[in-house]
Symmetry: C2
Subunit: 214 residues, 2 copies
């Protein structure tokens, strides 16, 4: 079996959000697909280890903010590489509330759903949601997972089903963010970057970068 074939499946990049009591929380996922058209329903897949999973279980609702090519990649860092258990992720982004759930403004569309069914696996829950509301936001192409990898140069969080241990394609010497896996590829040598330089994906300081040789 050649697992790299899985990489040919096409995905978007989504911020899946829900509520922890009254507190908005969410995570990044690439697995969402429309299942029925009338009434409309959408299936998403969320790792058990994502705090958002248990929040969706409790509230019975989730929202999908569809990231666009113009969305600040820092949002992927904030929502994809930290846990909502410890951090108020929505504190740093501008959002509005639709059907009681938070959706970010810096997205091309949103869809808010009520859970009507689910399917369990060893690591992920597939939630089926009936659409309660949906609308377009900014007029920009949706960010595809391929765009995120090739243009934004992002890596998969370890909870993503698409995460592959052997995915690394790091040059012989590279500075890699230990939080989100971003590989520094700027023209300025990494050592010469200013001390207040931050990872463009997860906004962590220069000090979390590790030099990798192989």
């Amino acid at each position: 079996m050649n697992k790299s074939a899985f990489r040919k499946l096409s995905y978007g990049v989504y911020l899946i959000s829900s509520l922890d009591g009254d507190r908005p929380t969410g995570c990044i996922a690439n697995s969402a697909m429309q299942i029925t058209s009338d009434p409309a329903s959408i299936a998403i897949s969320i790792n058990h280890d994502n705090y958002t999973n248990s929040c969706i279980e409790r509230t019975g609702k989730f929202a999908i903010s569809i990231l666009s090519e113009n969305t600040d990649p820092g949002i992927i860092g904030t929502f994809g590489f930290q846990s909502g258990k410890n951090v108020n992720k929505f504190d740093s982004v501008s959002y509005k509330t639709v059907e009681g759930l938070p959706v970010i403004e810096d997205a091309c569309a949103y869809i808010v759903c009520q859970v009507v069914n689910k399917m369990e696996t060893d690591s992920h829950t597939v939630f089926l949601g009936k659409v309660l509301d949906a609308d377009n936001l900014e007029n920009a192409p949706a960010m595809t997972y391929s765009y995120y990898h090739t243009v934004v140069k992002g890596k998969s969080p370890k909870n993503a089903p698409t995460y592959l241990k052997e995915e690394e394609t790091i040059p012989k010497t590279a500075y890699v963010c230990s939080v989100c896996g971003y590989v520094y590829e700027g023209e300025t040598p990494f050592e010469e970057l200013p001390d207040d330089w931050k990872c463009p994906i997860c906004k962590q300081p220069k000090s979390v970068f590790k030099k990798q040789e192989r």
Copy 2:
């Protein structure tokens, strides 16, 4: 609710195949996503009205051929706009057999799965398949649904969850294939095309095209 927001979800274009007894059959779908990584599993969504749905039920297996940007769009016509009940769709394409299931050669990768769970909706079945085998084929980018719509100029079959009645963006006068919805946009006026001209998507003759005004 603005249903056009659903169009911002990203998809690929897949040929989902199975067996009707010993006879290979299949259909086109855009909904497939990896759910777990180890062991790997993939979820697909298939309309009840697609003959492939009942074939997957009976054999307990399905294969995903991942179409590439180079895949002959005629394959989408053959597999997306005819029923496998009446037509041996695989007669017209070159394919090989993996784990007993047919996968087409004109694709960038394939994944063969055994059904381990399913979730029913009013119109579609979400099948969860444990991956039995997978490999890459031709080295070309996967065809995205967006590429199919904007470059190949294809429409959604009526069984697709993404099908929207109001999706039409046809110019004032247009010749539209009554089988697959392809809108003729060639430089030669439609009336002057040779009699043996065929729809590039579904290979139906010129006579099935209808002149539409609006």
